[in-house]
């Protein structure tokens, strides 16, 4: 229950932010942190709670982004209606990838590589098909109205991404306090033992990838509204997959606050390096890579795990 209150207080505090802060730079930073948190939450559900490391979450992100953008561009559908459609499309791709991989018992590194290959297939397809605008991508028509999921200032976007992140928080919290969550973590820790205890491992994993993919697709749909543009590399490129996995690993895998902690730490680090080294291309990702190696080597349980260890040591 304490966790639940913490989530609500945190989200409430962020919701009050636009009343006191009008700086677009600050609000943008908060929005991008929450956006990274959302992608991290999505990946964390499958990998942190379910133990299935995906290297191709871009497949779900990109599908959400393109589903929303294409519906707006080609059929003039209202952007708000596109959001649930994008989530359903992303979840469907998740179901497809999951059904194939888990049916044939792919685990560990093999699962990671197959998800990566799926993302690449989607990227090449998006590059070659007219519907997605090919290599040029899709530009969402400018409407600048809240009714069309396009806001004048940053505050509107902040509320939307906050609501999505809150959903991610509640899902993670639910995994910690439900039968389904208990089954999912049991499958993560030992699939055979879980099966012997009556857990349908295939089904549990499939549900996890569907939830995870749906959340990821919501991130993609948000991206399209915020930047009003999507192309194959942005949608299905490896950068998104990396962004999704980096946060939870840095913050703490399989925890409720890990993705937020990680996203915040990485954003802070990103800003810091930008101030120190300028906006040179590659610098921030280079540092992220080094952070990833360092975390895996020295802090496999993330910053959150470090806090826990320190708290346990304190008298």
């Amino acid at each position: 229950m304490k966790t639940l209150y913490a989530i609500l207080v945190l989200c409430g505090a962020v919701a009050l932010l636009p009343a006191f802060v009008s700086s677009g730079v600050v609000l943008n930073l908060v929005i991008m942190t929450l956006y990274a948190t959302l992608l991290g939450q999505a990946w964390n559900i499958l990998a942190g709670f379910g133990g299935q490391y995906s290297f191709g979450h871009a497949a779900f992100f990109g599908t959400g982004a393109y589903a929303s953008a294409a519906l707006q561009v080609h059929f003039g559908v209202n952007a708000w209606l596109c959001l649930p459609f994008a989530i359903v499309c992303g979840a469907a791709v998740g179901a497809l990838v999951g059904a194939l991989s888990f049916r044939y018992g792919l685990r560990g590194s093999y699962f990671a590589l197959v998800t990566l290959a799926f993302a690449e297939v989607f990227r090449i397809l998006a590059n070659s098909v007219k519907f997605t605008g090919g290599g040029v991508g899709l530009l969402v028509p400018l409407k600048s109205s809240a009714l069309d999921f396009q806001f004048q200032g940053k505050a509107g976007f902040l509320y939307v991404i906050l609501a999505l992140t809150l959903a991610g928080f509640l899902l993670s919290w639910w995994l910690k306090h439900s039968r389904y969550g208990a089954w999912l973590t049991a499958v993560r820790d030992n699939e055979d033992s879980a099966a012997a205890l009556g857990v349908d491992a295939f089904r549990v994993k499939l549900q996890a990838i569907v939830i995870s993919a749906g959340l990821m697709a919501a991130g993609g749909a948000f991206y399209v509204q915020y930047f009003q543009y999507i192309d194959p590399h942005l949608a299905y490129g490896p950068a998104v997959s990396v962004e999704a996995l980096l946060g939870p690993i840095v913050g703490g895998l399989g925890t409720v606050f890990g993705p937020l902690l990680g996203a915040a730490a990485l954003k802070l680090l990103g800003e810091l390096t930008r101030n120190l080294m300028g906006d040179a291309p590659g610098v921030s990702l280079m540092i992220y890579g080094a952070v990833l190696i360092a975390m895996v080597t020295f802090l496999p349980r993330g910053i959150g795990g470090l806090f826990q260890r320190l708290a346990a040591k304190a008298p």
Partner: protein
């Protein structure tokens, strides 16, 4: 209650289980013994759905379960433990047991409370909130037992729950298993340590080289020359008998 008929399975030309038939009567503690590599765990794997036999059938409570997925078999009321006790490492003892409790309880609270009552039955009450990875071997075996018990099985398959325990721990574990049976759960246990089984089980089956070679009361079975040879090697029974005769003479 459980019946296997003419079950066979081979791996790459090696017959791991060869035309084995066995029955477990309801309400009993039955044991399956045999030397290392006899195929006991393989047969267990077939009974519990982890392996599909090349031939033969398994039925449980009159229902055909051959090749049924393990989780389905568990839902029918047959659960197994593993020889290599592996707790869900990231979770506490209570959470571990609750995974089993959830089979019949959707609510988290109810499952956690049930887990507590199960822990009491296997003697893990004092360690409920410890991380499962910190348990000793004996503790892990108890946890393995508790998790399986939490699914409220009618038949419990125990894969070497006594192996790796010291005599003190074995004598602590035996009454736990007996009390499980007294609570209405039929037990089929694999052991290769004969001594432990002698006291616990009422009926025993002996597996050697994938074939069932003997069955009966433990005391009778252990006098069976075929069993002695299986354990001690060809000619051992003969030697034992002659050395016994010489001692008498």
């Amino acid at each position: 209650m459980l019946q296997a008929r003419h079950v066979s399975i081979s791996f790459g030309g090696l017959k791991a289980v060869d035309d084995a038939s066995l029955a477990v009567p309801a309400g009993s503690i039955t044991s399956l013994i045999g030397p290392n590599g006899a195929g006991k765990s393989t047969l267990f794997g077939i009974l519990s759905g982890f392996l599909e036999p090349d031939a033969g059938s398994v039925s449980f409570l009159g229902q055909e379960v051959t090749g049924l997925a393990p989780h389905r078999i568990c839902r029918l009321g047959m659960t197994r433990t593993f020889q290599l006790a592996q707790p869900f490492a990231g979770q506490t003892v209570r959470e571990n047991i609750a995974v089993g409790s959830h089979l019949h309880r959707a609510q988290r609270k109810a499952a956690l409370a049930h887990a507590e009552s199960i822990a009491l039955r296997v003697g893990l009450s004092g360690r409920l909130d410890r991380p499962a990875r910190d348990l000793t071997i004996a503790g892990r075996k108890r946890l393995e037992l508790a998790r399986a018990l939490a699914t409220e099985p009618k038949l419990l398959l125990l894969d070497e729950v006594l192996a790796g325990l010291n005599p003190q721990e074995v004598s602590e574990m035996s009454p736990v298993i007996r009390s499980i049976r007294d609570g209405g759960v039929t037990v089929l246990m694999i052991e290769h340590v004969m001594q432990a089984v002698m006291n616990l089980s009422e009926h025993t089956w002996v597996l050697n080289n994938g074939q069932l070679i003997a069955e009966g009361k433990p005391a009778d079975v252990t006098r069976d020359p075929r069993v002695i040879e299986a354990y001690l090697g060809r000619g051992a029974a003969e030697r034992l008998r002659t050395s016994g005769n010489e001692a008498h003479a």
